[in-house]
């Protein structure tokens, strides 16, 4: 329970799938409470006893189904069923009583749908609830009014319900757009970070070879350490630690044979192939998620410069105030691009230097907008020959670039 509350508290660190599951669990807890309260309330409803019993039993059954689906990790199905369950409860209340609290149920169900932040669900189920709500208001006016009420009170009920729906509709649309934009930024940034990690991994490999050390996964000491740690954890979690060694053997086997050969091998079971495929993302013989996570973790111990507002700023216009400074910055960056290594070459050696054609291509790409103003790029193309004669020709003479 403590862990569960910690996960709610720190939901901002959890991936979307985990949060979705959390949401379903929270909604289910809420629905359990409401269903329990429905039993005493149902005594006052205008249903024959057998209908009440059938409906309440159906709720219990559907609740059981939700639990089963959640246990099977069918989060989307549980989500949909929890929404349908809420609509069922709303119908049960709204058809059973004309009290004001039944009207509140429409808001409660809308809030549950809003909670999932799924545009299509909100559009379909939300509209259904809205229609049912309006129908309820029109058909149960007497239960919602005071003896002497304001004229057209019914329109206020309808108007607030519709406005409530529309405000959250706008919010969900806005969130969809915002999340989609941030998602694009995040994915692009991660692709570039993966590229840095590719280069870092190549350099780490070079350093390892220079130090004449075995690859980490081939070191006996490392293998022994992994084995002991894994068995210890497995014994604590599952009371049985030996099976984990089979997975570790498979992990080493994927390093040795390569995933393609394992997948081609008909003697290996589908389950084992699936496990091997997952383990393939965490190998040590190339840049994988394992390397990326190790690099990210270790880089937390790097001493970096003190924080200043321009820390994550890469656009020259934001780094340099004046035009002459911007041009100086451009010239320096240009020199860097034509002279320095920026990745692995065609022979997988850390010697790749951009060619003039590649630089031209880069300056014409849409990504360049994140670094330079269009004026600077135009200035470059107008004076391209001057740039080449000063910064490239001499390197070509020395055999530095093409």
């Amino acid at each position: 329970m403590k862990t569960f509350f910690r996960r709610i508290q720190d939901a901002e660190f959890l991936p979307i799938g985990e949060v979705r599951k959390l949401k379903v669990i929270l909604v289910m807890a809420f629905l359990l409470l409401i269903t329990a309260a429905t039993i005493p309330f149902s005594i006052y409803f205008a249903y024959p006893d057998y209908v009440t019993i059938i409906v309440l039993s159906s709720f219990v059954l559907v609740y059981g189904l939700m639990i089963a689906l959640l246990r099977m990790n069918r989060v989307t199905a549980s989500t949909q069923i929890s929404i349908i369950y809420s609509i069922g409860l709303t119908l049960f209340y709204s058809q059973g009583t004309s009290s004001f609290y039944a009207y509140l149920f429409f808001y409660i169900t809308l809030t549950i749908i809003i909670f999932y932040q799924d545009f299509l669900s909100y559009l379909s189920y939300g509209l259904l609830i809205l229609a049912l709500g309006i129908y309820y208001i029109i058909s149960h006016q007497e239960g919602l009014a005071l003896a002497v009420d304001v004229p057209g009170f019914m329109y206020i009920y309808i108007f607030t319900l519709v406005l409530f729906y529309l405000i959250f509709f706008a919010q969900i649309l806005y969130n969809e757009k915002l999340h989609s934009d941030m998602n694009d930024d995040w994915v692009k940034m991660n692709q570039v970070i993966d590229k840095y990690h590719d280069d870092i991994t190549t350099y780490l490999e070079l350093l390892r070879k220079q130090a004449k050390r075995e690859p980490l996964h081939e070191e006996r000491v490392f293998q022994k350490l992994v084995g002991e740690l894994a068995v210890f954890v497995a014994e604590q979690v599952k009371d049985k630690g030996k099976d984990i060694m089979n997975v570790f053997d498979l992990y080493l086997y994927v390093h040795e044979r390569g995933i393609e050969k394992i997948l081609e091998n008909e003697e290996i079971s589908v389950q084992m192939k699936r496990t091997a495929d997952r383990l393939n993302h965490y190998l040590f013989n190339r840049r994988t998620d394992m390397y990326s996570m190790l690099i990210n973790f270790s880089s937390r111990f790097l001493e970096t410069e003190k924080y200043k507002p321009s820390r994550y700023e890469y656009h020259i216009q934001h780094l340099a105030q004046y035009h002459d400074e911007q041009l100086i910055a451009f010239v320096m960056i240009y020199q860097y691009l034509v002279r320095e290594v920026c990745g692995v070459d065609a022979w997988d050696q850390m010697n790749k230097v951009l060619t003039i054609d590649e630089i031209d291509q880069l300056f014409k790409s849409p990504e360049i907008e994140a670094f330079f103003s269009p004026q600077l790029i135009a200035l470059y193309f107008e004076n391209r020959d001057l740039f080449i004669s000063h910064f490239v020709s001499c390197l070509v003479e020395k055999g530095g670039t093409s």
Binding site: D10, E12, P15, I16, Y44, N73, S99, F100, Y101, L104, I114, F115, G143, L144, V150, P151, I156, Y157, F159, T160, I167, Y174, M182, N183, M189, N190, I200, Y203, L204, L207, F222, V226, E228, A230, F232, A234, V237, K238, I244, Y282, M290, L294, R300, L302, T304, S310, R311, Y312, Y314, L319, A320, E325, V331, M332, Y336, L354, L362, A370, H390, C394
Partner: protein, 392 residues
């Protein structure tokens, strides 16, 4: 988390706050128009209608003013959230008192929905408090507003119960939605910092492997020649000469006083600012150039979803528990064994990062709980196998 990302995360939130403020302003205006139309058509007293109109106008004008000031001082955007939340509740309560009808009580839900648009934790707490306070106040002190024609104990209890239930689900919903939004801000801010540190690490490794640093003298010599010819083409006296000289002295780590003596019309602040224009060491311009080079060599393809597979962790929901256990063991062992070229982690810092930062959520809850409770056992296993040197 990195301390450095806090400011950037806040900056990301502020960037979107202005748009949210526009939405809220539009909703307030719509609410004002509809309320006034209804009051005029239904024949409410004119001074009631005018009083509400003035109330709406005050909140709207205040909003517009804060938006205008917020362009220069972003704190006005922040202030606007709180003032508008309180303003919209004040207006809703005024509507309830003027209308004296249970139908008007539902205007409180509209107030909640409008304030929820900000998706801010502090606003959410104010919002919940105000909604709960208003609902309780009406039920206790103005129960005649809920005195329905068919009222009985069941109805009274039902209203109280479901109102509390509604506020509870609204609170839970708002809390998680806000947290979910912060997930995106976190990931973007975290990626920015990861990028910054990865470039730093890459510079270190590049220099270790190629055994060379950037040839500052050559860079400046060629740039000076370039600017000389460029100026001649434009028939100008070389306007870049002075700044190039100054930047060169900064690259060479010349004392600030000496630089200021030579270039007296520059200030210390100018020099600090111009440090971002240095190409040597780990200065900003070098990082821009490296990022540019890597942007070119990466294939930035079609954006994919924030899917589980995109998210680097040892806690993918479809992985078997054995896989999750093994991957954590491999990760931990690799950190303890150390990888030449990567900074080393000390024991206490490792435990702290694994148990109280985002890394806690990159590992299966069962596995990380075992580690949290038995970190000494983990360390003992490592020391036994790797020797005492593993204890850093």
């Amino acid at each position: 988390m990195f301390m450095e990302i806090e400011d950037y995360r806040e900056d990301l939130e502020i960037r979107h706050l202005r748009t949210k403020n526009h939405f809220v302003l539009a909703l307030l205006t719509l609410m004002m128009i509809l309320t006034l139309i209804y009051m005029l058509v239904s024949g409410f007293l004119l001074y009631h209608t005018l009083a509400l109109l003035i109330g709406f106008l005050i909140v709207i004008m205040f909003n517009i003013a804060q938006l205008a000031y917020g362009k220069d001082i972003y704190q006005f955007y922040q202030l606007n959230k709180y003032i508008t939340t309180m303003g919209v509740y004040a207006l809703s309560i005024a509507i309830i008192f003027v209308f004296q009808s249970p139908s008007a009580i539902t205007v409180l839900f509209i107030a909640y929905a409008i304030s929820a648009f900000y998706q801010d934790l502090k606003v959410m707490f104010i919002n919940n408090f105000l909604l709960l306070f208003s609902a309780l106040m009406l039920m206790v002190n103005f129960s005649e507003y809920l005195n329905f024609q068919s009222s009985n104990t069941e109805t009274e209890f039902g209203i109280a119960f479901f109102l509390v239930a509604f506020i509870s689900i609204l609170t839970i919903s708002s809390f998680i939605i806000i947290k979910q939004k912060r997930f995106y801000y976190n990931q973007i801010a975290l990626s920015r910092e990861t990028e910054f540190r990865s470039i730093d690490l890459l510079i270190d490794l590049e220099e270790q492997n190629h055994q060379k640093r950037i040839d500052i003298d050559s860079y400046y010599k060629k740039a000076q020649d370039f600017f000389q010819e460029f100026s001649e083409i434009l028939k100008l006296d070389n306007p870049f000469k002075e700044r190039m000289g100054l930047l060169y002295m900064l690259e060479k780590n010349e004392p600030v006083n000496r630089i200021l003596d030579r270039y007296p019309h520059y200030t210390k602040e100018d020099l600090e600012r111009m440090e971002d224009l240095l190409i040597g060491g780990k200065h900003k311009l070098r990082k821009v150039a490296m990022k540019l080079g890597h942007t070119f060599t990466s294939e930035v393809g079609k954006a994919e979803l924030f899917s589980e597979q995109q998210f680097k962790s040892f806690n993918h929901p479809n992985d078997a528990l054995d896989v999750k256990i093994l991957l954590f063991a491999v990760f931990y062992a690799a950190l303890k064994r150390g990888i030449a070229g990567l900074p080393l982690a000390d024991k206490a810092a490792m435990r702290r990062i694994l148990t109280s930062t985002d890394y806690y959520y990159y590992v299966d809850p069962k596995v990380i709980d075992i580690y949290e409770k038995n970190s000494e056992v983990f360390d003992e296993i490592c020391e036994d196998i790797l020797g005492r040197k593993a204890e850093r």
